[in-house]
């Protein structure tokens, strides 16, 4: 009953209008970005299907006429011809009110007929540094098609049959196979990597958010009791210190899970609206990617998810135990913020490393330094379980349990001792009065 009373108070302190508003904002923001990105992707896909080619023919030969005529006849191509003079490319785009332009320069046919490689000029307007705003298939498609047409003309002139032409275009048929340990599947490894990275792209974000929010919640809960001078009143009430710290830990965990859940939901919404399903489906070979994952043993079973959950649980527990110590050290809001930095650093390093590279492939010293950070094992959990590195997974889990036990031992010792009231790290501001070591403010 007393514990519930404490837990209710902790939750009411943590769940406030600002927190709810920020969560709503996050969901709305991800949904909005997803929708905008989705529209942009639709535009790109549409432009891929209907290539808009703008062309200036300055060679004006039968060959270039035939080339343009063949491009016009190609399905999905909208071709516009211009006759503007001049070499100022910006002016050419402006005068013709287009964003991309192909110029077949004078001598194009002559060069081709002399057996040399003819040169054409491609002009594209760059509007911004954004990836999506610069994606335009007009010139790329035009160049690809012109190459194709010239290739056809050369092969026809050489008197080759259609079969020979096809053989020349793809002389070797590749059956791609991917092997994981002793299992293999008929699929390109690139497809598997695309699918896996697509699937696991948001879990590290959720882990990172969980680490940061759990730590921040409990640190604030403890440091604010010290800063607002409510801790002494609470500690002198007839309730055990274990209950006080337990209620704070549970409330911080509940809030962290709510936050992680909302982030996960918002991010999955973003992925589902913004991501192009073709990105994954494009690379499908004779086997579907999902089937290939099962065949290669890369799909996660229910037991694997339980193990990931277990590791996530110990990650949160480590954060909570460390937060008790850090929260007790803070004696003002600035100190509390500064004390959060080491945790942020320890979470960010494995977060970025796990996204960019395989930790096991790193040099030995770097690898062990990373493994010494308990959060590294959580970030690499999916990879370890997927690729059957069970020794690494369970080694990491045992290491996390040990780190948690050590941190919790010191945290409880600190909270149950006089030090919870007497120690502090004055990181927020310069101390006005020098105190003797270990002595409280007022004796």
């Amino acid at each position: 009953m007393k514990f519930i009373n404490l837990l209710k108070k902790e939750l009411s302190e943590l769940i406030n209008v600002q927190m709810i508003a920020s969560l709503v904002m996050i969901v709305a923001m991800f949904a909005l970005i997803g929708s905008v990105a989705s529209d942009a992707i639709d535009d790109i896909k549409e432009s891929t299907k209907t290539a808009k080619i703008n062309i200036i023919d300055r060679d004006e030969t039968e060959f270039t006429d035939e080339l343009i005529s063949m491009l016009k006849d190609t399905k999905g191509v909208t071709l516009k011809e211009f006759n503007t003079e001049g070499d100022d490319y910006a002016e050419l785009l402006k005068a013709n009110k287009v964003d991309n332009l192909i110029i077949l320069p004078e001598g194009f046919t002559e060069t081709f007929e002399s057996g040399k490689t003819p040169r054409l000029i491609s002009i594209t307007r760059m509007k911004s540094a954004s990836t999506m705003s610069n994606v335009t298939s007009g010139n790329d498609s035009a160049i690809y098609m012109i190459n194709d047409v010239i290739y056809d003309i050369i092969t026809k002139n050489a008197g080759l049959t259609e079969e020979q032409v096809e053989l020349m275009s793809s002389p070797v048929e590749v059956t791609e196979n991917t092997v994981v340990d002793d299992k293999s599947a008929e699929i390109a490894s690139g497809s598997i990597i695309s699918k896996l990275s697509f699937q696991s792209s948001f879990l590290p974000i959720v882990i990172f958010m969980l680490i940061m929010m759990t730590t921040q919640s409990l640190m604030n809960a403890i440091s604010s009791e010290k800063i607002d001078k409510t801790l002494e009143t609470l500690l002198s009430a007839p309730i055990s210190r274990g209950s006080i710290i337990g209620s704070k830990m549970l409330a911080a965990t509940i809030i962290a899970i709510i936050n992680a859940g909302v982030y996960m939901f918002a991010f999955s919404k973003f992925i589902s609206t913004a991501a192009d399903p073709d990105i994954v489906e494009k690379a499908v070979g004779t086997l579907s990617v999902d089937d290939a994952l099962v065949k290669l043993g890369l799909n996660l079973s229910a037991a694997d998810y339980v193990l990931i959950g277990l590791q996530l649980f110990f990650t949160i527990m480590i954060c909570l135990s460390v937060s008790i110590i850090l929260g007790a050290l803070a004696n003002d809001a600035k100190s509390a913020q500064n004390l959060l930095l080491p945790i942020m650093f320890l979470a960010m390093v494995p977060y970025f490393v796990s996204i960019l590279m395989d930790i096991n492939e790193l040099p030995t010293v770097v690898k062990y330094v990373l493994y010494a950070i308990p959060f590294t094992h959580t970030f690499s959990a999916i990879s370890n379980l997927s690729f059957g590195n069970m020794g690494l997974f369970f080694g990491g889990l045992i290491y996390q349990v040990i780190v948690f036990a050590v941190c919790m031992f010191f945290a409880l010792r600190l909270f149950k001792s006089d030090k919870i009231l007497t120690i502090s790290l004055n990181l927020g501001q310069k101390s006005k009065f020098k105190k003797k070591k270990g002595q409280p403010e007022d004796e």
């Binding site: 009953m1 007393k2 009373n5 404490l6 209710k8 108070k9 009411s12 302190e13 406030n16 607002d228 001078k229 409510t230 002494e232 009143t233 609470l234 500690l235 002198s236 009430a237 007839p238 309730i239 055990s240 001792s417 006089d418 009231l421 007497t422 003797k436 070591k437 270990g438 002595q439 409280p440 007022d442 004796e443």
Partner: protein, 246 residues
């Protein structure tokens, strides 16, 4: 007189600093005892040890017969503590704060409600109890905290600087409340203060502490006569300065 608090040779050492050195005194039922002394004299350390917040280096304090060292949870059931410059949860409404604090002392909802009703009567904050504590003035917070400290009818209420930072009228009101609770309900108080006027007005006995040593205890009238002093301030000056000379 039944002893509510017995402090026996209580000491506290912080690394090389001996903050409290073998302090002994006692408080009877319905008595108001004031611990007075200059800054850094050891008042707060003594109070914190009695409140079970700090562990004594040696000696012990017994509240209603329970040892602060060996039975801290039993002691906490018998006391309430109002720290110097104590705050309350700013985002909490006054009434919720009282309910929350009462819920730490009782599990029975009737007892919780009774304690809250009593606190409402003592603090006299009326409808402001429905407002967030963050909107309260310093005086209002102190009244709320005093009401919180006495609403559970503790055997011993420990008040560190109960009127610090308050204006004359608010301070007077709080002193009257303390005196009334001791006289009418037999509640015992251990008060720490710098304000000699307040101590003379409110307390029955005083203890003067300096540099961790309890130099003197006694009834105010008796010690004034002993030191041939007009008021407590003069006694304080003579005792503390006299101790420094010798």
């Amino acid at each position: 007189m039944e002893k509510v608090l017995e402090v026996k040779e209580l000491s506290k050492q912080y690394n090389k600093v001996l903050a409290v050195d073998k302090v002994s005194f006692d408080i009877g039922a319905g008595e108001i005892f004031a611990l007075i002394g200059p800054n850094g004299a050891g008042k707060t350390s003594t109070i914190r040890m009695i409140s079970t917040l700090l562990t004594p280096t040696s000696g012990d304090a017994f509240v209603a017969g329970h040892s602060a060292k060996d039975e801290p949870e039993k002691v906490r059931e018998c006391i309430t503590y109002l720290p110097d410059e104590a705050g309350a949860y700013k985002n909490m409404v006054g009434l919720k704060y009282l309910q929350f604090m009462a819920g730490l002392f009782f599990t029975d909802i009737d007892k919780i409600n009774a304690a809250v009703e009593r606190a409402k009567g003592i603090c006299c904050l009326g409808d402001r109890l429905n407002d967030k504590i963050g909107t309260y003035s310093r005086g209002m917070i102190r009244k709320l905290l005093l009401a919180r400290a006495v609403m559970t009818r503790p055997k011993l209420a420990i008040l560190d600087e109960p009127t610090s930072g308050l204006d004359v009228l608010n301070a007077l009101e709080i002193r009257k409340t303390i005196k009334k609770l001791a006289e009418e309900e037999g509640m015992s108080f251990l008060i720490s203060s710098h304000n000699m006027l307040e101590i003379e007005f409110v307390s029955d006995r005083v203890g003067i502490i300096s540099k961790g040593h309890l130099l003197l205890t006694g009834h105010i009238q008796d010690i004034k006569e002993k030191y041939q002093a007009a008021n407590l301030e003069e006694v304080f000056e003579k005792v503390v300065n006299g101790n420094e000379v010798h």
